[in-house]
Symmetry: C2
Subunit: 290 residues, 2 copies
């Protein structure tokens, strides 16, 4: 039995669909049912359900975007830094493996040598390293809290997208803005992310951190071109002259734009579609919101 925390969120819903479709037995307790700071109670629940794996897709992301985390700092800390520690304690008490949905937003830019960041590179967009967003700081603390946790996968998602129009889908977000910031990023196709994380378990990969992004990177302008080419939306977005101008007029929290190296997970034999191809596929199969 797999326990799914955060099953009603954007990422959690993708896990629900996948687990349902693949017929894997799972249970996703509603938030109210579990005290998110009581590891003993969570451990009791895991025992009662005879859980043999847990997925933590719960977290606080801020709506409509990450700026909301600057206003709700206690919630952001609780959901992204404290909760992972509580889950780690509970899973250790009942001795089961588990996976935590982390984020690639712990990084900014590329490595000094021009390559993408690997799992060995310490976060550079965290409270410890830079003037990061409160959200990124909390996600980085979440990973720091989990350092040394036994039987724990840390799966780094980075800017999820797929073929379903939604306010949380990166492609939908881009299409809804008239003015964009041109930056370079690695991205994660949501369905591929979910499948790849469950492959870690199936193939008994070593525990630890995995960058779960589609290989490669794209700039905002490149994604806009792919959208134009697909015909899903035709518009001429403007671009901010610089990150400073974006920060001054449109954002509260600095954004993490970064390139991740996904060779650890692909090297383990888990296939992820190169990012531009994955975007093209999503746009080809685009399903507008009802």
């Amino acid at each position: 039995m797999i326990i799914l925390l955060g099953g009603n969120g954007y990422i959690g819903s993708a896990y629900r669909s996948y687990l349902q479709n693949s017929g894997m037995p799972f249970c996703s307790p509603p938030r109210r049912q579990l005290d998110c700071v009581d590891a003993i109670r969570l451990a009791d629940f895991l025992r009662e359900k005879e859980a043999d794996f847990l997925i933590n897709a719960a977290g606080y992301t801020g709506k409509p975007n990450v700026d909301a985390c600057e206003e709700n700092k206690a919630d952001c800390l609780l959901g992204n830094a404290v909760l992972p520690g509580v889950v780690a304690k509970a899973c250790a008490l009942v001795n089961i493996p588990w996976g935590h949905v982390s984020s690639g937003c712990l990084y900014s830019g590329r490595r000094a040598d021009g390559a993408g960041f690997t799992e060995e590179d310490p976060p550079n967009f965290s409270f410890r390293q830079s003037n990061c967003s409160f959200y990124s700081g909390c996600k980085a603390l979440g990973e720091e809290v989990l350092a040394g946790a036994p039987q724990c996968y840390i799966w780094r998602l980075r800017i999820p997208f797929d073929e379903v129009d939604s306010p949380r889908n990166y492609l939908s977000k881009l299409m809804r803005y008239e003015k964009l910031l041109d930056v370079e990023n690695s991205l994660s196709h949501l369905g591929e992310f979910v499948q790849a994380t469950l492959q870690c378990r199936k193939q008994n990969l070593p525990f630890g951190v995995y960058n779960m992004t589609n290989p490669g990177s794209v700039t905002t302008r490149e994604v806009v071109e792919l959208i134009q080419d697909s015909g899903v939306r035709r518009w001429k977005p403007q671009y901010f002259a610089s990150e400073e101008s974006f920060m001054q007029t449109a954002a509260k929290a600095p954004r993490s734009s970064c390139v991740l190296d996904s060779s650890k997970i692909t090297g383990a034999g888990i296939v992820l579609t190169p990012v531009k191809e994955a975007i093209r596929n999503a746009l080809r199969n685009w399903r507008p919101e009802d």
Copy 2:
């Protein structure tokens, strides 16, 4: 009615004694009674008790010392960074003023100009600024969470001591070690701290941050001399050659040693005994543990 959170801790116990002795009506709910992440429930409790002030002396400090925070990061974040935000929300909901016991451990050293740190100086021993201890990082996040909270005093305590022998009393701690690190610090006499914080309320001082340390600073060697002179204990402690050697052999977390400027609170007419005199007085009235 004053609500005291954390009334069973070292600092909270000093508040209990003071409030009892001065006949001020107060109520200190046990930890179990209040869900520390539920602001709505705390607000209901405040209404029910007709609270007109709250003191948050709850926090996670680690036993026997701050190194324990490196092992219990989720608890440390919860008690020191999330809880203040929850209390702020609850007090805002019922529109009452309150005070948060923060810490001077957000700083290291002295200002570049040689002076002590004032309330205007941003913390330099925090996740955002340095390779701080997890405890200091969490306390600094707690203050960051409270930025902009209405009707909120932030009272910075720094290394509490008094005349009562106790494992949490700085003087007792020093006497129990055979090998010490010689550093310079500001300190807070616990009883004077408690009295001064309640004076803020009585005198309707403006809300905001207050360094609540006894004026001046002392080095470890100076405190040892004061202890020797008092006759309370006569021993010849050794000293670590350097902070590096201390970190290598005796500690996990880097320590905050710092000098604070307490002129904001003393300038408001609240009297605190100069630190060396306060230490001499405590040693003169020393009460050994039973």
